[in-house]
């Protein structure tokens, strides 16, 4: 009996400790900052003719659940941009985990009879049929970033330029190498998830442009768009190239890990170019205290633009700077190069 009571006291203590730790831990899940969080990329309704409130437009929106800073920024931007218009009603549906779930969610969206649908599909090919269906039902579809293969499936396609990202990064590196008089530079590349088409396009643009200048990629490692995989691959790459002149990293989110690996290896003899254009990367470029000297954009601001254009489509208006009376059918954003000189202009677009 004595033994049993000992045990229960010990259990009580252990249980109490576990509960205490649990209570402490649940207090630790907060991510609230004290500063007000702005950050969304909106453009204030300017003073052109299109800005004036017009016919009411209901915009339905769907994007995959965010597992990455870029996708999160897409959803936030769309919401914020819609908020700037008094004549826009914004209806969003969770896209779920895969293409099938997004399709089901979109069916409920159609039932709410929106005037325009803005859609970042899980997979352009898999959601193509939905685009056709919605267009046939008379609802214009704005296809965001991941393209539908069928031209009948969208009213407007707005997307980034993956090939152009590689080209911009290569141009910056070529210019820098020429300025430094490096005849045959050692160039490294840290790509994103290698099985994705967008990664292949980025790498192709990079390699093609370098080849034109007579340069080549000495070593290429593929990470997984996460900081820890970026660190792992960068550590290997730095070990493989004891002396390097330039490095292009496809994604600024995984770049956190790449920069960590560079600090851990005590290396600083090369220049690094980032990709996508996160706020942290822009601030590092502006501060100019690391190897990161530039980043090439693939901006989630395209979601804000997509909402603006969807509104114009809903109101049957054109873009006021163009002669045409309707919004064009396809817009591909240019991949811009952010350096120390112009970083301050881009900071508001960082995610």
């Amino acid at each position: 009996m004595k033994h049993a009571s000992d045990l229960s006291r010990r259990r009580l203590l252990l249980g109490g400790a576990a509960l205490g730790a649990g209570a402490l831990l649940t207090a630790c899940t907060s991510n609230e900052t004290d500063e007000p969080s702005g950050g969304a990329q909106t453009v204030a309704a300017g003073n052109n003719a299109n800005a004036a409130p017009g016919q009411k437009v209901v915009i339905g929106f769907s994007a995959p659940a965010a597992d990455h800073g870029w996708i999160a920024a897409i959803t936030n931007n769309a919401k914020a941009q819609a908020g700037t218009y008094s004549d826009v009603e914004f209806k969003t549906v969770e896209a779920g985990a895969d293409a099938a779930a997004q399709r089901a969610a979109l069916q409920t969206l159609i039932a709410q009879k929106p005037n325009v649908i803005v859609l970042l599909p899980h997979d352009g090919k898999e959601l193509n049929a939905f685009g056709l269906e919605a267009m046939q039902a008379g609802i214009p579809v704005v296809n965001l970033d991941r393209a539908f293969p069928d031209a009948l499936a969208y009213r407007l396609q707005i997307k980034g330029d993956n090939y152009g990202m590689g080209v911009s990064a290569a141009h910056y590196i070529i210019d820098q190498m020429k300025a430094k008089n490096v005849a045959s530079p050692v160039i490294g590349e840290i790509a994103g998830i290698d099985s994705l088409e967008l990664t292949q396009e980025r790498s192709k643009g990079f390699a093609d442009t370098l080849t034109q200048a007579g340069f080549r990629v000495a070593n290429r490692r593929a990470a997984e768009f996460t900081a820890d995989s970026g660190q792992r691959e960068a550590a290997s790459l730095l070990q493989a190239l004891p002396k390097m002149d330039a490095l292009w990293n496809h994604d600024d989110d995984q770049g956190i890990g790449v920069l960590a690996a560079i600090t851990q290896a005590n290396r600083s003899e090369f220049i690094m170019v980032g990709g996508a254009g996160s706020k942290a990367a822009m601030e590092a470029i502006q501060a100019d205290n690391s190897v990161l000297k530039a980043t090439v954009t693939y901006s989630p601001s395209m979601a804000s633009s997509a909402i603006s254009l969807a509104r114009l489509i809903g109101q049957n208006k054109g873009m006021s700077d163009l002669v045409e009376l309707q919004v064009p059918k396809e817009i591909i954003l240019a991949s811009e190069t952010i350096t120390k000189e112009n970083a301050s202009n881009y900071l508001k677009l960082g995610f």
Partner: protein, 352 residues
Amino acid sequence: MTATTTAPVQEPEKHAAAKQSWWRDDSTEQMRRNLGLVGVLAVLIVIGIITKPELYSDGTWVRNNIFTILELASVIGVVTVGMTFVIIGGGIDLSVGAIIALAGVWSTTLATQDFGPGGMIFCALAVGIGVGVVNGILIAYGRLVAFIATLAMMVAARGLAAQISGKQTQVSTSSFINGLAANDFLGVPVLVYILAAVVAAGWVLLNRTTFGRRTVAVGGNVEAARLAGINVKRHTLLLYALSGLCCGIAAVMLTSQANSAQAAMANLYELDAIAAAIIGGTLLSGGRGTIIGSLLGVLVFSTITNLFAINNLSTEVQNMVKGGIIVAAVLIQQVQFKSLSQFFSKNKITTS
């Protein structure tokens, strides 16, 4: 690998006169397995020297490269120590990668970072142990199959991690945590010390304590262990808690390496850890395995990764080779240590 396969062919004949030859003795079997893995490591390094002589001729580079390989192995090595215990105890833990992500994310929230590095480390370890205990309760007392319970935990823990982080990458601002990966102590990276400490602790726990003996007993034959008076349920729970603790340590290490944590981190670490334990000679059905073997398994994989990186070969080829090595290692171990020795002892009987 050739060096290790030719050796057993001659050895048994030489010692055939002695009834208990060194090569066939059961007590040294694990040592022979480990020697085989050391042989594989040596072959990989020789391939490295042949393919990149200009790099290997530089002494400082070689030294740095050894530390790079060890640092690459450090996080997965710590996870594998916990995994080895669980597998020896007859279970499996598919949730290790997800526990690392959850512990990493939880310990890098702004609220936790306010408590400083001590608070962050406590949080990571507590979350790791906590999730491990939940796994253990589900499996030991809820009678769920380990595969199912930890599979469910894998999905759920990553979901919770994504929820807490708001799907963002959380940057660690603690210079102490980030310094773990960046700093050396007496010329050796701090992460390597942590790996060494965990491996040493794991070795002592498995080989020199009743806890370790009980683990082998439970994994070898649950019913016999129960009849021998071992509290099998409590022991199983402790094994998963131990695995969770290792994941908590690994989460701190990985956070320091990447200077950040996110819900998608430590992707597929469960498979890497299981693979390393298996080629290290741990029996998937439980009851047998060593910490040193698992460590060698991890080192083989990180040496391959390093070899492929310095030769600029793609990740796809690397994954194919990894798969091949897992199969080859298990096949060689079976053929080499069971069939071959049986084959030769039979031959001896028939010919003499």
